[in-house]
């Protein structure tokens, strides 16, 4: 007994002595040892230009980098560039058609060769090749040329004044790939380069050592990484597969993994798991908003081919803002958050909730449920129940709506709650849910896509990539309404059309001043909100979890969640 305690004491002293040194050792290259990450959707490839899914973009972000990235506040951080070009520092031309980036000194690929303008030019050619099917082609929209200027500068020229030129080579979705590695993979040959697609050479903190599609990736620290102390982790296992609940369990309960992504599970279960004390749930809010779209055109099946088209005529009652306003007032957004989203959601009254410079406060009245007010509003407008069936009539037409969304437990809960609230104000809702791959599939032959909108109301989440809302707010132009002529393509899902709105879209496209852009974006948001053709419900954030022994996580929803993985480290 005594001998044991002496031995234990000796062991403890030995263990404690180097503790201070040990803490520093964790903050050296490879000093933190091994990191386990679980993404319950497994990456299929490491070439984000060939896939476009979040899982591929984020796993590839350990290896491939871009000129600038967005931190957790949505602020642009120069990454491979030495600074962010602006009109003030001369990096952006006065007429807003050119931007010149300077590559920072001493950036090398993991194979030891230098990053040159040729790699950027190649990346542009790779993604814009018409036969390649590049998933991130929209990042190069309007780019007419990418040219080298000297040994370390690149000038990107746009076909028109571009007030927000930080698209190509910015953020996790348009990273730079190595010209030497992908030289033979242009266009139709892209899928043949399996080796390059599964093991791209990058400038990032890690290199791929083993890639198994739809299963697991092994990474090791990049010996040629520009910061000699980073990355702090020597190796990373990036496991995919399973489901969100199992991923949460493996971090918060069993401790087998250090970081789990996208934990959209029942908030009560998640907080129970967190209460065990092994890990922490983290959230980051970007621009995702769960919203209702109120069809402004008539979805009546009797219209045949004209169903849900502008030519088929206006909706019998949903174009009236009073009706939309009453429907919005009847909804208890806080309860929807509590039931379905927990820490991963906030009630919102705006379709454009972030970044702060663009977020309007004009509509915040909707945050409080007001069923009595909604009833009064409809009564006042004269839309009352005339035949005693509990459903109001609007000019003789019963206010019954078909309310559709994708199949998903949280959405079906929300549908049931909303149906009940609407029943209380005398609006009847028939609920329908459609498999997500069909609903979002965009197959012009299917009657069930969200673009065709063969229903009165539909619910889903949309957002925009990056921090600039110009393209996103342009979604609601009259010309962007889906119709059979466009194979039902078009982002103006609820078929909103207002010439004053289109004028604001044009104005924004000409304005470079950020404060002025903020004012215009808010005006557009308010115009949409007050038309009540969109009813925003929940501002959704990403929910992830990390072990308490993992330090340095700064989760950003504006870029890859793993954007600063070089700084992640083990807390001793």
């Amino acid at each position: 007994m005594k001998r044991t305690s002496i031995l234990l004491g000796a062991a403890a002293t030995l263990a404690c002595a180097p503790l201070a040194a040990l803490a520093d050792a964790h903050l050296s290259r490879g000093g933190s040892g091994h990191l386990n990450i679980i993404y319950w959707q497994a990456p299929s490839t490491l070439n984000p230009y060939l896939s476009g899914g979040t899982k591929e973009v984020e796993s590839a972000s350990l290896v491939l980098e871009s000129l600038a990235r967005f931190d957790e506040t949505g602020t642009m951080v120069p990454w491979l560039a030495s600074e962010i070009p602006t009109v003030e520092n001369g990096g952006v031309s006065e007429d807003l058609t050119q931007i010149t980036w300077t590559i920072a000194d001493d950036i090398t690929w993991s194979d030891g060769t230098a990053l040159t303008p040729a790699d950027l030019i190649f990346t542009w050619q790779y993604c814009t090749d018409p036969e390649g099917g590049c998933a991130q082609a929209s990042y190069f929209d309007g780019v007419t040329s990418v040219e080298a200027v000297g040994a370390n500068q690149v000038t990107i020229t746009f076909n028109q004044p571009t007030p927000f030129p930080y698209t190509a080579f910015v953020g996790a979705e348009s990273p730079i790939i190595q010209a030497a590695q992908f030289a033979d993979c242009l266009g139709a040959r892209a899928p043949e380069c399996t080796e390059a697609n599964f093991g791209p050479i990058g400038t990032g903190p890690f290199v791929v050592t083993d890639f198994r599609p739809n299963d697991v990736i092994e990474f090791a620290a990049n010996e040629n990484y520009r910061n000699p102390d980073q990355p702090y982790f020597a190796t990373v296992t990036f496991k995919g597969g399973g489901d969100a609940a199992a991923a949460a369990r493996s971090v918060l309960e069993t401790g087998e993994f250090d970081y789990a992504w996208n934990l959209q599970i029942d908030p009560t279960i998640l907080s129970q798991m967190e209460a065990q004390g092994n890990g922490t749930v983290v959230t980051a809010f970007g621009t995702s908003v769960e919203r209702l779209h109120l069809n402004q055109t008539n979805p009546d099946p009797a219209l045949g081919d004209l169903r849900s088209t502008v030519a088929g005529g206006a909706h019998p009652f949903l174009t009236d803002p009073v009706v939309g306003q009453a429907m919005s007032m009847a909804i208890d957004r806080a309860l929807l958050v509590e039931v379905g989203y927990g820490a991963g959601g906030q009630a919102t009254c705006n379709v454009l909730p972030a970044p702060d410079a663009y977020a309007s406060t004009a509509n915040d009245g909707c945050l409080v449920q007001d069923i009595a007010g909604a009833i009064a509003l409809l009564d006042e407008a004269g839309h009352v129940d005339t035949d005693g069936d509990g459903i109001r009539e609007y000019n003789g037409i019963p206010m019954s709506v078909l309310f559709q969304t994708s199949t998903n437990a949280v959405r079906q809960d929300a549908q049931a709650l909303i149906k009940q609230w609407w029943a209380e104000i005398g609006i009847d809702a028939e609920l329908r849910n459609i498999d997500a791959s069909v609903f979002f599939g965009g197959d012009p032959a299917s009657p069930d896509t969200f673009q065709k909108f063969f229903a009165d109301i539909e619910m889903y989440t949309n957002n925009f990539a990056g921090v600039d809302p110009q393209a996103y707010m342009a979604n609601w132009r009259c010309s962007d309404i889906p119709s059979p002529d466009t194979q039902w393509q078009g982002a103006n899902i609820q078929r909103f059309c207002d010439p004053a709105y289109d004028a604001l879209v044009d104005e924004m496209a000409r304005t470079a001043d950020l404060a002025e852009r903020g004012r215009i974006a808010m005006a557009m948001n308010d115009m949409l909100m007050q038309s009540y053709s969109i009813i925003p419900l929940v501002h959704r954030g990403g929910v992830s979890a990390h072990a308490n022994t993992l330090g340095g996580v700064r989760m950003s929803d504006w870029d890859s969640e793993l954007w600063n993985i070089a700084e992640w480290h083990r807390i001793p």
């Binding site: 490839t45 929209s138 899928p191 399973g242 997500a436």
Partner: protein, 335 residues
């Protein structure tokens, strides 16, 4: 027997062609889109370009015959080349997965070992549990052993693996901490310690599946034993003064095994098919998981190729079961 086998093999060709075409039509005509899983931030023009580059927009028959040609000619040559090192494979396109943009056969070959290990072991474990259970249950019909055995196999048969799997994880991984809840597919067995890790991570999926297999086979075994125990030849054997052990284990068991062996052979393709749900629950990267991810992602070439390989195996093992039947039971002759 030989002519029977040859006749059946020749007959299998049109059957398989028909099956592959029907699978192709089902997969193609179902409303799925390889770009459906992408974020909504990717605009429709880009989606259309992606679909175009995948060849989704080609006419149906063109797509089918392209696939068929690759499946019966190019891909077998590639497999042969990988196995032998002979330079015989044509330098053309291969069956490419929409999701990974890599050859489908490589994905299948990469995943086959895990499936064979986990699902195969569970099948063997299931058989090893089922045979004694079925024999004793039948011999001591309505005894407490039979009652308990019936109860256990009813539970094993009727409780789905997605429930037992999660239950096992909650008990043995979360509460007791004995086994890992996530299967580590990168583990390479190099010595006794890694072998032990491999065993530990295999125990839960193998037992979940083994229990299910055992329940099924033990019922067949018990029923077949009961049929034979009351036959005249058993009474004759006992009357001859043979020991009880010889009567049961040699005379009865041998005859009772005939239908059971057929059932076991008919279920072997399922081993290659993997266990979609169990693999997903324990994150084993087997064929079943490949198939489900492909279905979710609208990855037609993978779904098509994997399903047709299943079809081939099922046709093949049906033939093997028929032949085994003839070998085991001399009364049955096909010629």
């Amino acid at each position: 027997m030989l002519t029977f086998t040859i006749r059946r093999l020749i007959l299998a060709i049109p059957t398989l062609l028909f099956i592959s075409f029907v699978i192709f039509l089902i997969v193609k005509l179902s409303p799925s889109d390889p770009t459906a899983g992408l974020p909504l931030t990717i605009p429709p023009e880009v989606r259309e370009q992606i679909r175009e580059s995948l060849g989704v927009n080609d006419p149906l028959f063109v797509q089918y015959f392209k696939w068929l040609k690759l499946m019966v000619w190019d891909e077998p040559l590639h497999i042969l080349q990988d196995a032998t090192g002979w330079q015989i494979a044509p330098d053309g396109p291969r069956i490419i997965s929409y999701q990974t943009r890599s050859p489908v056969m490589d994905l299948i070959l990469q995943r086959m070992p895990q499936t064979l290990w986990v699902v195969g072991t569970s099948y063997i474990v299931g058989i090893l549990i089922a045979l004694p259970l079925g024999i004793i249950s039948a011999y001591r019909q309505y005894s407490w052993f039979d009652q308990v055995g019936t109860l256990v196999s009813m539970i094993g048969f009727s409780v789905p693996t997605f429930f037992t799997g999660v239950l096992f994880i909650v008990i043995f991984a979360v509460n007791l901490g004995w086994f890992p809840s996530v299967y580590d597919t990168t583990l390479v067995v190099t010595g006794w310690d890694t072998f032990w890790l491999q065993v530990r991570q295999m125990i839960m999926p193998v037992m979940v599946l083994g229990l299910f297999n055992a329940s099924q086979i033990s019922r067949y075994m018990r029923a077949s034993m009961l049929d034979n125990l009351n036959q005249d030849y058993v009474r004759t054997a006992r009357a001859k003064g043979l020991r009880e052990g010889t009567v049961v284990l040699v005379h009865v068991l041998r005859n009772s095994m005939i239908p059971v062996v057929t059932v076991i052979a008919l279920n072997v393709p399922a081993v290659f098919g993997g266990a979609i749900i169990t693999e997903q629950v324990f994150k084993v990267n087997g064929i079943g998981q490949l198939l489900i991810i492909a279905i979710q992602g609208g990855d037609v070439p993978v779904v098509q190729t994997v399903s047709v390989i299943f079809a081939v195996l099922i046709v093949l093992f049906n033939l093997i079961a028929d032949i085994l039947y003839g070998v085991l039971d001399p009364r049955i002759r096909y010629d």
